[in-house]
């Protein structure tokens, strides 16, 4: 139930039973100055010795991809967008038409990271949509989604 104690230098800091489980550096120099060397087991040939944790839910790995952001949020549905992301009445001068569907997480990620345009939009529209999302506050539809995309 409690962690194993070994004498490897890399593990020393993790041994304290009182719960000092501060991670040690996996790659700090091992054994320098140790008076006795412990045996090193080589393991079986052909066996895999690295187990990678895979996310349990496919959704958590792709959660960014399954979330979507309505632009603008439903409460302001139909509004058009200025270049700075503010929502204005339709046909306002210099404003752009909003997307007809909510923007998908994957599209937003590509726009942010690679400068891609949202499908079927002009550069002005894409910039306005991104500016809108940057202004989202906690409590507005899409805030959580946008924060998690940016956190990736």
């Amino acid at each position: 139930m409690s962690e194993d104690r070994t004498d490897g230098a890399a593990d020393r800091a993790a041994q304290d039973a009182a719960g000092s489980d501060a991670p040690t550096d996996a790659v700090q120099g091992a054994g320098a100055g140790a008076s006795t060397r412990r045996m090193l087991m080589l393991g079986a040939a052909g066996a895999s010795m690295v187990v990678t944790i895979r996310p349990a839910l496919a959704q958590t790995a792709t959660s960014v991809l399954t979330c979507q952001i309505p632009v603008p949020q439903p409460r302001q549905s139909g509004g058009w967008l200025m270049a700075d992301g503010t929502v204005v009445p339709p046909y306002t001068r210099n404003a752009v038409r909003p997307p007809s569907q909510p923007l998908k997480g994957q599209e937003i990620r590509e726009a942010l990271l690679q400068g891609r345009l949202y499908p079927g939009t002009t550069r002005e529209q894409t910039q306005a949509y991104t500016a809108y999302m940057l202004r989202l506050q906690n409590g507005q539809s899409g805030f959580t989604c946008f924060v998690s995309i940016r956190a990736k």
Binding site: E3, A10, T24, A26, V27, A30, G31, G43, V50
Partner: protein
């Protein structure tokens, strides 16, 4: 053909549980469980120790651990296999 040198991708936090080293690789965000001798090999080519060929890694391991019962060739073969596995996981890169 000269053997390639490899180095650990970064210093990685590690917690030992029942002999496994549970490490976090920040660049990928992935968590891996490593069984001996993988953590020891990783430590032998840490950023503080520099890149090494499999033969050089064997030398470093022999200095740090009691491996008197193992022949050089056997150890080198295991090291090469583990380096391949570590490279595939992104924890180690050619340098």
């Amino acid at each position: 053909m000269a053997a390639r040198r490899h180095i650990a991708d970064a210093a990685m936090p590690s917690v030992t549980m029942e002999g496994f080293a549970v490490v976090f690789h920040a660049a990928s965000g992935a968590t891996h469980l490593l069984a001996s001798p993988v953590p020891e090999i990783l430590a032998a080519i840490g950023p503080d120790r520099g890149a090494a060929t499999p033969d050089e890694i064997v030398t470093r391991l022999r200095a740090d651990y009691d491996m008197d019962g193992e022949a050089d060739d056997d150890v080198a073969a295991v090291v090469a296999e583990r380096i391949a596995e570590l490279t595939a996981s992104g924890l180690v890169r050619a340098a």
